[in-house]
């Protein structure tokens, strides 16, 4: 009986080590729906990758300082379904990104939509991460 209690104790301890790794991801744990942001800037880096893409843009603040923002997008598959192509993102292209700021206060956001120089505003596939939907994205399922 003592053996059983001991092994149960060890098992619970082992399981608990896994619990702290959960504080992130899923939209609500990482991004703040109450902090929508609109970012305008030039593309400095593109990561067209799985499982989530990232675009980096230099945004000039009201104070004249340039901050490089990292914006999370959906996977290549998710972006393609929403009409975005890798070719839409040459370095230096001027983009407007709407999204939600990260809860940790860094220059990071979950991208909701991206407006390209030709005026097209396309969704960034962020709904896959549990981002809020407002019905604006017709491909959101």
């Amino acid at each position: 009986m003592k053996n059983r209690i001991f092994s149960l104790f060890i098992c619970v301890l082992l399981l608990l080590t896994a619990v702290p790794v959960f504080a992130h991801h899923s939209f609500s744990s990482e991004y703040d729906i109450n902090q929508p942001v609109t970012l305008k800037g030039k593309l400095t880096k593109l990561e067209w990758i799985n499982p989530h893409g990232w675009i980096y843009i230099d945004v000039t603040g009201a104070d004249g300082k340039v901050v490089n923002w990292a914006i999370e997008t959906g996977s290549p598959n998710a972006l393609l379904r929403r009409g975005l192509r890798k070719e839409d993102f040459p370095l230096g292209v001027e983009l407007t990104v709407k999204g939600f700021r990260a809860k940790n206060g860094t220059a990071t956001a979950n991208g909701r939509s991206i407006t390209l120089p030709d005026g097209r505003e396309l969704f960034a596939g962020s709904s896959g991460t549990g981002a809020p939907r407002d019905g604006a994205d017709p491909t959101e399922r």
């Binding site: 060890i10 098992c11 399981l15 896994a18 790794v21 992130h24 991801h25 990758i49 799985n50």
Partner: protein, 164 residues
């Protein structure tokens, strides 16, 4: 370990790693197979562990249950290993620094050691206890540990996506 980091950086930037990482369909397919093959690997392990704990098929010899199910476990393991390696290949640099991934690897190591130890100790005498009404404590402990470790592996595996 700097050497390990450099290896991971080199690995994910090979053409195979890059191709998988930037793919439209290949990555999601590999990842789906990896997630679903968990059922084959862990599902069969669960049945064997529950037999060891005396919770199902109590009247059936342990060696028969284990012997007939473990080939399927191995099949599941091979699928998990191959898909896991390909996923790692594509994201090696990120995985290097990912705490959930590191813990998962550690748990996988322990999950491999556990049955190994079990097999070379108490299981060697399985014919003496496999039909006993109560399984030896050490066998039960191995089963309990197995269930816990595999649960932890599933949990940490899922948590990988939660760290950038």
């Amino acid at each position: 370990m700097h050497l390990l980091l450099h290896f991971c950086q080199w690995l994910c930037h090979t053409s195979l790693g890059t191709a998988i990482r930037e793919s439209t369909y290949v990555y999601p397919i590999i990842e789906t197979i990896h997630t679903l093959a968990t059922v084959l690997l862990v599902g069969t392990v669960v049945i064997v562990d529950l037999r060891l704990l005396g919770l199902l098929l109590k009247r059936e010899p342990v060696s028969q249950i284990a012997g007939q199910l473990l080939p399927w476990t191995w099949l599941g393991f091979i699928i998990m290993l191959v898909t896991g390696l390909l996923l790692f290949w594509a994201e090696a640099e990120k995985m290097y620094g990912n705490p959930a991934f590191r813990i998962k690897l550690l748990l996988l190591l322990l999950a491999g050691l556990n049955p190994l130890i079990f097999h070379f100790t108490i299981y060697r005498r399985v014919s003496t206890w496999e039909l006993a009404p109560v399984t030896p404590t050490r066998a039960k402990a191995a089963a309990f540990l197995s269930l816990t470790l595999w649960s932890g592996i599933i949990i940490t595996g899922r948590a990988i996506a939660y760290f950038h």
